[in-house]
Symmetry: C2
Subunit: 175 residues, 2 copies
């Protein structure tokens, strides 16, 4: 099964000139979704991590399903103000301005190996901030897993320079 056939490119979303990679056809197909999670598991067998972190919101879809499959705890990384308990926050740069992510202080800690899961690797800002949050809590980042990687934005370079292992199921090579 070629998972790329289940990714729909939506032109000019969220703004003109951007071809958005829509994962909803993949989720809508039980066979494609199962194959996707199976490929995630092949890339990162359960023995290599204790917990799985998903980034709000689409990272939740793959991260929680993989956590269930692998028998691992799931922890959410969210936009500011969404997590109800005590948090730490990490700001990161956007094209214009800054954004931030938060993690609960008890989400992980020393001795934990955390796999980061998101749907898309673009410039890598979200994943860099997420890795920083996990590391600030004393845990190790076991790896980064994305469904789609936009190779031309070179987010992988930033992540690998920060010592992170990166695996993506699908690669988009050109704009």
């Amino acid at each position: 099964m070629n998972l790329a056939e289940y990714i729909r490119t939506v032109p000019d979303f969220p703004k003109p000139g951007i071809g958005f990679k829509d994962i909803t056809p993949l989720l809508a197909s039980p066979e494609a979704f199962r194959e996707c999670i199976t490929q995630c598991e092949a890339a990162y067998p359960a023995e290599g991590h204790d917990r799985i972190a998903g980034m709000e919101s689409r990272g939740f879809l793959f991260g929680s399903a993989l956590a269930l499959r692998q028998g691992r705890g799931f922890l959410p990384i969210r936009k500011p103000g969404k997590l109800p308990w005590e948090c730490i926050r990490e700001e990161y740069e956007l094209e214009y301005g800054t954004d931030a992510l938060e993690i609960h202080k008890d989400a992980c800690g020393p001795g934990d190996r955390v796999l980061l899961v998101d749907d898309l690797l673009a410039t890598g800002g979200t994943l860099m901030a997420s890795a920083a949050l996990v590391r600030r809590l004393g845990a190790e980042v076991a790896g980064v897993l994305c469904v789609v990687e936009l190779d031309f934005l070179q987010g992988r370079k930033r992540l690998e320079a920060a010592g992170l292992k990166v695996h993506s199921l699908l690669h988009v090579t050109g704009e």
Copy 2:
């Protein structure tokens, strides 16, 4: 296993006087998360629905995991402007003002039986709007499934008055 032990009440979140039901301890425990999904499956066996809809963002966590377990397609229902393709929108009343949800036009259609999954049933506004979206696309709502129900807010009454079957794993009876 008593799943209620994995729900943490956070006082005064998101505003003074509200005791927020925090599901992150449940997600963090592989055993509790597995038991939660097993109880979801017991309430709504796979034969009764063709697709599972999850409401942004916490409904994604349970809906996608259940969809994987049951071999059913997953469809996201999201806040306006988040879904990239053609959508329909449903507005609903909040305590102050209105909010809205969107669904892709190809998410479901006539002949589909859709199970709605969210983490929390409070006043039922989100689930009423979600049911309306699914029905406007010609599909049937097979049922509503929530992890936690705040009985005192009586959201169930509204949903059942709209002909919806409702099941919650946990009930909070008092404020």
